[in-house]
């Protein structure tokens, strides 16, 4: 990623502190309509009493971004992590846009890539101005001063001043134009496994997630949404609900949602049950998963928009000594973060305030504005820690609905979705229906491949300007471009939106989808070529040393090629996703029962410059486990238009007794940082599928792997 030159602008805070605002020229072309050509940002606040706050554009939901971003800023501000507070930024697109997402958003493993330059430059600029202010006060040359742990010291005289002492004066200092960042050789924080700053509160129950917010006079609500999209309430027993002790209000939003509000969640839930709502399913009442798949299958028969073309792949395959083709399918998935959907709101005449964990604060503000008619600037959004996100927090339909409910009462209300309502009204990871084909020459060399992706476009709805010429770059991510050198390739994309379902981003986005297809099929081709899967990949990586290095490292550390007992198998996958290289070897056992026993995972990762190696390791471990459980168990299905699954008993998560041993090996270098929050998740299904094939000889092309597909293996 090109480094961006930042211009800084200083202004005085009302409290007399120093606020650094930034502009990022050259982003205007990528900005939504209406934004100006320069975008001021503000990340550093230093109070007169010396407290240093990182105003945090990105949301923390476990990926460690509060810590890694504080490390970036603290490195240049010469502070310890213990000296930095982190405060969630308010919605302010101009200041807190993620330049890789064109929005104030956290997702797509972009946070470190976005903050890598701007937070270091923000820290460095602040330090330069603070030192200048101290030097001016002393009447000395700033070059003769240095900073340690926020204390400015004049070396010759030994005089010292704290950041707080000079915060007000610093604002009057000229903004440095050319900011020289530290030589990585001098990093004190970056590259260390510094302890996370958000964890102490998370082990003693004091961390406040959105669902934990408490306000004076607050009441508690829960809701029922039509089980079938487009359905409506036929009748309900409002009087019965009101007879439940503690129930205060029954609120309808159109015909499609009903909330009950009471003195506590239990009253609200009992009241909701007492309503005994009878729904009419509406026009989607006959939908089934099979009917949605049939529509995709039909759409996939016709050529799509070309995403990548190299040579004449079809001709190469037609003339190949060995030809292979296959259909791969991936199911609808729910996000199901551990913290169920919730939103706390107080909507009054002329103003509103909400408390919620969201990955998109500006969209949250807009959702409330749309639901209430209030202007954006009258809506305060207090962003919170999220109990998982996995992409669910990139959508705000729940917040809009919450506002439509809360505007009908005059008190603050916390609305909490039951797990069942959350799981049945998700914006699901789409179903994908993919055709792949490949041809091998007489020596077993891959000479051509085609991949037709059929699925909806989340991008077209979420970021319309990014959906160009009918092509959804996310839908073809990791297949339009692979690490391999293949002489002829054709990747095309057929857009097919499912009826009656909302879809959205899910952890690993395009990579999670396409790596399963591409890396499974590469394994199929290796098998057809009678080659070892690692050898087969190596043969296509001679121009890609970083990819080859992670492949070799994972193979070596896993004992690739070593003998395993009958019924056991190893599978490998390789990826370049989110700017990081990764290879994963899974070792599994599949007994005759068809169970999948996960014994061991070995990951080799090269994410370039690493901010916090332990966070990288944690993301690999956790991301992989989410991906494994999902690949083994999860699919959302429809019957008569309604989602069949409802809770963690029928939408399973991998459990302690099922988790494999995981080794993570990191290649450290000074390449530009890549994302790591989704890589492990994206690696899981292909590595597992290839291991299952090695163990059983069965190639599973339709996720999840369970569902009886392996019985009698």
């Amino acid at each position: 990623m090109p480094s961006r030159r930042l211009l800084l602008r200083a202004s005085l805070l009302a409290g007399g502190g120093l606020l650094l605002g930034m502009r990022l020229p050259g982003l205007a072309h990528a900005a939504p309509a209406g934004a100006g050509p320069f975008m001021p940002n503000a990340f550093v606040r230093i109070d007169p009493h010396g407290a240093v706050t990182l105003i945090m554009a990105h949301t923390e939901f476990g990926q460690g971004v509060y810590t890694s971003s504080a490390m970036l800023m603290g490195e240049e501000l010469e502070l310890g992590l213990d000296q930095i507070q982190v405060q969630a930024a308010p919605p302010d697109l101009a200041k807190y846009i993620d330049p890789l997402l064109y929005d104030q958003a956290t997702g797509g493993s972009t946070s470190t890539r976005s903050d890598w330059m701007r937070l270091r430059e923000a820290g460095a600029a602040a330090r330069i101005m603070l030192v200048a202010a101290a030097a001016k006060q002393w009447g000395v040359d700033p070059a003769g001063c240095h900073v340690e742990r926020g204390v400015i010291r004049h070396d010759a005289t030994g005089r010292t001043l704290g950041y707080g002492d000079v915060a007000s004066d610093a604002a009057a200092q000229p903004v440095p134009k050319d900011i020289k960042l530290k030589d990585p050789a001098n990093f004190k924080l970056i590259g260390t496994s510094a302890k996370r700053i958000d964890t102490p509160a998370k082990v003693n129950g004091t961390a406040v997630f959105g669902i934990d917010v408490r306000l004076p006079g607050m009441r508690f609500g829960t809701l029922a949404i039509t089980p079938v999209m487009g359905g409506n309430v036929v009748r309900m027993d409002e009087a019965a609900a009101r007879r439940v002790a503690g129930v205060r209000d029954v609120i309808r939003v159109g015909d499609g949602a009903v909330a009950v509000i009471g003195d506590h969640m239990w009253a609200a839930k009992q009241g909701l049950d007492a309503l005994d709502i009878v729904w009419d399913a509406g026009p989607n009442g006959r939908l089934t998963t099979a009917s949605l798949i049939a529509a995709m299958e039909q759409a996939s028969q016709h050529p799509g928009v070309v995403a990548a073309k190299k040579g004449d792949a079809s001709a190469a395959i037609d003339g190949a000594a060995t030809r292979l083709s296959a259909i791969y399918q991936l199911p609808f998935l729910s996000h199901s973060p551990m913290e169920p959907l919730n939103c706390t709101l107080h909507i009054q005449a002329g103003q509103a305030e909400i408390w919620v964990g969201t990955q998109v604060p500006v969209r949250a503000q807009k959702a409330v504005a749309d639901a209430t008619g209030l202007p954006m600037e009258k809506i305060t959004v207090n962003n919170h820690l999220m109990g998982g996100g996995f992409g669910r927090g990139l959508e705000v339909n729940s917040i809009g609905l919450a506002a439509a409910i809360a505007k009908q009462v005059d008190y603050p209300v916390k609305l909490v979705w039951t797990r069942e309502e959350d799981l049945r009204h998700d914006n699901y990871r789409p179903y994908y229906y993919d055709h792949v084909a490949g041809g091998l020459d007489g020596n077993g060399k891959l000479i051509g491949r085609t991949h037709r992706v059929t699925g909806p476009s989340i991008l077209a709805r979420w970021a319309p300007p990014a959906f160009k010429n009918g092509l959804d770059a996310d839908a073809v991510e990791c297949t339009a471009e692979t690490p391999y050198d293949i002489p002829a390739e054709l990747v095309d994309y057929v857009r097919q939106e499912p009826q009656g379902m909302n879809t959205s981003w899910w952890r690993g986005v395009g990579a999670t989808h396409n790596l399963f297809v591409v890396e499974s099929f590469i394994d199929e081709l290796a098998n057809a070529a009678k080659q070892d899967p690692v050898e087969f990949r190596r043969g296509m990586l001679q121009k890609n040393p970083r990819a080859l290095a992670v492949l070799n490292l994972a193979a070596e550390k896993s004992g690739w090629g070593g003998k395993l007992p009958a019924g056991h198998g190893r599978g490998i996958e390789l990826q370049f996703a989110f700017g990081s290289y990764l290879a994963c070897v899974m070792e599994v056992e599949v007994p005759a029962s068809g169970e999948i026993l996960l014994h061991r995972a070995v990951i080799a990762v090269d994410c370039g410059m690493t901010v916090n190696p332990d966070t990288v390791r944690a993301q690999m471990e956790g991301g992989l486990i989410l991906g494994l459980g999902t690949a083994m168990y999860n699919e959302i299905t429809l019957t008569d238009g309604a989602v069949d699954q409802s809770n963690f008993h029928d939408y399973r998560t991998l459990r302690m007794n099922e988790a494999p041993k995981i080794e993570v090996h990191q290649i450290r270098n000074t390449e530009a940082p890549g994302g790591v929050g989704e890589s492990g998740t994206a690696a899981a299904a292909p590595a597992l599928g290839n291991a299952i094939f090695a163990a059983t000889g069965k190639r599973i092309r339709r996720l999840p792997f369970g569902n009886g597909q392996l019985q009698g293996s």
């Binding site: 998370k202 003693n204 129950g205 408490r214 506590h264 998560t653 988790a659």
Partner: protein
């Protein structure tokens, strides 16, 4: 009806239905939000508290059934020797990611150590498999329990 609860060594009088799950009494009535709602059907373990020193799922536990037995929650588990060891091991091993399930994980792990001071991996599987973590922190939870056990 008025119910007397003993939570973290303190007595509370609450006026709630006796079929109300302890979870919602803790969170919505007493304002102790460290105990989390995850599923409501005892499938995820986020709501785990100790009742008379045993780990229980507070989301399905009617508050009228407690009969004065002592409840301990995440807010006070650090006052017990094993609870403190577990919290310290959680920090030392950097277990936590989003943190939402971790109150329940810590309560379950502390209960395990109270029963089995030196748990084997099989003991950990048996005691901890009722607590799910969507961030996938299991590898570190296992490691941290062994660390706490040897502290």
């Amino acid at each position: 009806m008025m119910i007397t609860l003993l939570v973290n060594g303190q007595s509370h009088q609450v006026d709630v239905p006796d079929d109300m799950p302890l979870l919602w009494v803790l969170r919505d009535v007493l304002g102790m939000t460290g105990t989390k709602y995850g599923c409501g059907i005892a499938q995820c373990g986020s709501c785990t508290v100790h009742l008379a020193d045993r780990p229980v799922r507070s989301c399905l536990l009617p508050v009228g059934s407690l009969n004065g037995q002592a409840v301990v929650t995440i807010e006070a588990i650090g006052d017990t020797p094993n609870g403190r060891k577990v919290q310290q091991a959680w920090l030392a091993k950097e277990v936590v990611q989003c943190g939402y399930c971790q109150s329940g994980q810590i309560m379950a792990a502390t209960a395990l150590l109270n029963q089995t001071p030196k748990p084997t991996d099989a003991d950990i599987d048996a005691a901890m498999s009722g607590n799910i973590c969507r961030c996938g922190t299991y590898v570190r939870i296992r490691d941290a329990i062994h660390t706490a056990a040897s502290a």
